[in-house]
Symmetry: C2
Subunit: 457 residues, 2 copies
């Protein structure tokens, strides 16, 4: 059955249909390091071709997994049931740049970075800035509803995607959404598809809203003697009605790992560092920075408060946040990296729970991330050669999810569910909601061929 489909794909796409092992290997993994070989890889160049591919897959009931550059952390783009990997990499063009409406139509395979580069000369930005922005694609960002440090002020993908061109499982091409700022005609399928991890439709093009590049910004560093005090300061700032652009944090172990690797003079007596950025027009930035200084300089637990005087100092401040991931290997070779999120007011409680879990299992748990969103990257470190530690790490992860859910949190703030968290989704949303998800999935994809096995569906 599947072989017939692959034969048709080969004759449709020729050299853009990869059947050899080496070709397929390149599309068999993502940032989870797990590996699932697709039977065949196709590289369409247009929405029409995607539609033709889907018609073949639908006819022969073959699973299809859409892919960008494979930077996902939850296995969302892996062919867990084999079948067809459909890479959008050749669909990376800017289709229409509408300066009058500050919007742009792009193909899904365009890298976030390439979009930002294109916009730079026009003084515009596309606000969502996931850490993977240099290589992750707009299509992938849409699939996971990606955020990034700027999300505190500017929100996530969903806030910036106005329209989509998609292909359904049976090959139907649909244009959804519009350039209209307000539009309440019919169900909002754009917002349903953003964040649906490639399970409802294949996004081939997206209409994105753009934003004027903020003229000014200020970067602020606050060093704390206690992580929980840092967490409390985050909600204190929000409660005082200041909404910074970014509000990132790193905990003690993250600071030590970075300092140990780079010797950049990070305060080794610190339990946590908060990094804030405010942006906007000059007056707004000055006023917000002053307010934050007045509120926080002498706040409980603050042992250093610094506003960067120039771009160079700002960069120095950011180094402590940006270089964590690569330096964590100094702690242990194994790492379970989660992206739980809790209401901002519960951040200190979650950090407390994480510290207790670390003690219970005698493991290092390094926390850093987007404090302003309550979005914590929890890194459970373990020695992969130590069987006991490996088991403990998995148990610790389970405890982390339990603690997070009991605080009203979510198992994922920006990485998605994919395969790595599929067993936890029902615990969060409940059985009735899972059943409704399945019925919605069926409304889009009655043969369950689009990215099957993801999100517990």
């Amino acid at each position: 059955m599947r072989k017939k489909a692959y034969k048709k794909l080969k004759s449709l796409l020729g050299a853009r249909c990869l059947e050899d092992k080496l070709g397929r290997l390149q599309y068999s993994y993502d940032a989870t390091q797990r590996m699932y070989m697709p039977d065949v890889v196709v590289l369409p160049e247009s929405t029409n071709e995607v539609s033709k591919i889907m018609k073949i897959a639908y006819e022969h009931n073959v699973p299809v997994v859409p892919k960008g550059w494979g930077s996902g952390f939850t296995g969302g783009s892996l062919n867990v049931e084999g079948g067809i990997a459909i890479s959008l990499e050749k669909m990376d063009k800017i289709v229409e740049f509408d300066k009058d409406n500050l919007m742009i139509w792009v193909e899904a395979g365009l890298a976030n970075y390439d979009l930002q580069e294109f916009l730079e000369p026009y003084g515009l930005i596309f606000p969502p800035d996931p850490s993977s922005w240099k290589f992750s694609t707009i299509g992938g960002n849409i699939a996971e509803n990606a955020g990034g440090p700027r999300a505190v002020r500017y929100g996530v993908m969903k806030d910036w995607v106005k329209g989509l061109e998609v292909v359904l499982a049976d090959g139907t091409i649909m244009q959804l959404g519009s350039k209209n700022i307000k539009d309440v005609a019919g169900y909002d399928l754009v917002d349903l598809i953003v964040g649906s991890e490639g399970t409802l439709a294949i996004v081939t093009k997206a209409l994105l809203r753009l934003y004027p590049k903020p003229e000014h910004k200020k970067t602020i560093q606050m060093v704390f003697d206690d992580m929980k005090k840092a967490a409390r300061t985050v909600s204190f700032i929000m409660r005082n009605k200041i909404i910074p652009t970014s509000m990132e944090f790193v905990d003690r172990d993250a600071i030590m790992a970075v300092e140990d690797a780079l010797h950049i003079g990070l305060p080794t007596n610190a339990d946590a560092i908060l990094i804030l950025e405010v942006d906007g027009n000059r007056a707004e930035v000055e006023e917000n920075a002053e307010t934050i200084e007045a509120l926080c300089k002498n706040a409980d637990g603050v042992i250093r408060f610094r506003i960067a005087k120039d771009e160079k100092e700002a960069e120095e401040i950011w180094v402590a946040r940006r270089t964590i991931s690569p330096t964590l290997k100094r702690i242990a070779d194994g790492k379970i990296n989660e992206d739980i999120v809790v209401p901002v007011s519960k951040l200190a409680d979650m950090i407390d729970a994480s510290q207790k879990i670390a003690k219970k299992y005698e493991l290092k748990i390094v926390n850093f991330g987007h404090a302003g969103d309550g979005n914590i990257h929890v890194n459970i470190m373990y020695d992969t050669n130590d069987e006991q530690q490996t088991k403990s790490a998995l148990k610790a992860m389970d405890d982390i999810f339990t603690a997070c859910l009991s605080l009203g949190g979510s198992i994922t703030g920006e990485h998605g569910v994919g395969i790595t968290k599929k067993d936890y989704l029902e615990r969060q949303v409940g059985g009735d909601v899972m059943e409704l998800y399945k019925r919605i999935k069926k409304a889009f994809d009655d043969r369950n061929i689009l990215n099957p096995g993801k999100m517990g569906l």
Copy 2:
């Protein structure tokens, strides 16, 4: 069949189940002035009661229409197929006010105005401010994804609803969403239900984000000698990266109607007035107002530019916009009021088209509305005693929709589809998308008992 259900409802709710004609009459109409009698009206006091009502309706296959205060313009809350009217009016409480996370859980029957009153002493606002805010409910605002003048800067309901408690057609109660600022676990059912006009589920409670009340604002009036120049100025301001809080417009006939009724000294040589409001902290407001003055004071077509010096002057400026609807009766007794929306860059083209259509049918078409969103309230005026004019008005409406869609617009920016526009939705979104809507509707409501006959479903 239905009678059995009504008997059960009576024994469940007693005096809160209205069966008499006078009682039902009060729930038989909305702002469209059309009238459909429900067979029975129920007034639940809790989500559990709503669930019990739905279980009865589901068992006996009886249509159920959820209602707020009936201020809708498209018939969304009318019992077009009879059955049960379920008014949420007794569910009007504030459930949980979470100052730390700037969020609030409220019952769906709470009036928008009562929420704003509650928030006032805390220096907070709920940004969506539909013109009906004094009497429309949060549940109704959610059903239509309502906007309002502030939407240019603050967005619409969807941007501020973080969670919902809903009851499905079969009585299942679901908690959707969370206080987490970012949350990508599962499909986003909150964003799907907001704007679904009561066809997917009955919203009983909502978790809303709040916002600090802007400390300062400035109101600007610009008078133009040509409506199209005013429209062009709107996109000119946006292109220059200024995003005001509100950007409203009124056209010549609207100005004349207001002046004729109130004699407040509106410039009778004007073809259009733009009203802008900027808000935020003092520095931001000053800078934005100055930039707008520099950009627009001598712009093409501006015959008067005025920044209100105080609250009293601001009120005077707003009168021209706020009093239009009641004064339109001076032009003619019949009015078809639509809320089309076009991309902001197409505003001038749409006004042009509307003027040509008015000429073609020899009718007055008065335009006003939310220029900053491209959202135009088109009012086709006609004499209801003149059969020819009445026919022409309907034809003109059809032409307006055709022109709007050909400019990439939408048939509704904030009023919804309901029954008045159900024949136009397919023209906008296409047959394939309509089929998908129907499959999604079925995933929620397999017996089609929730608000049937709306949105062309």
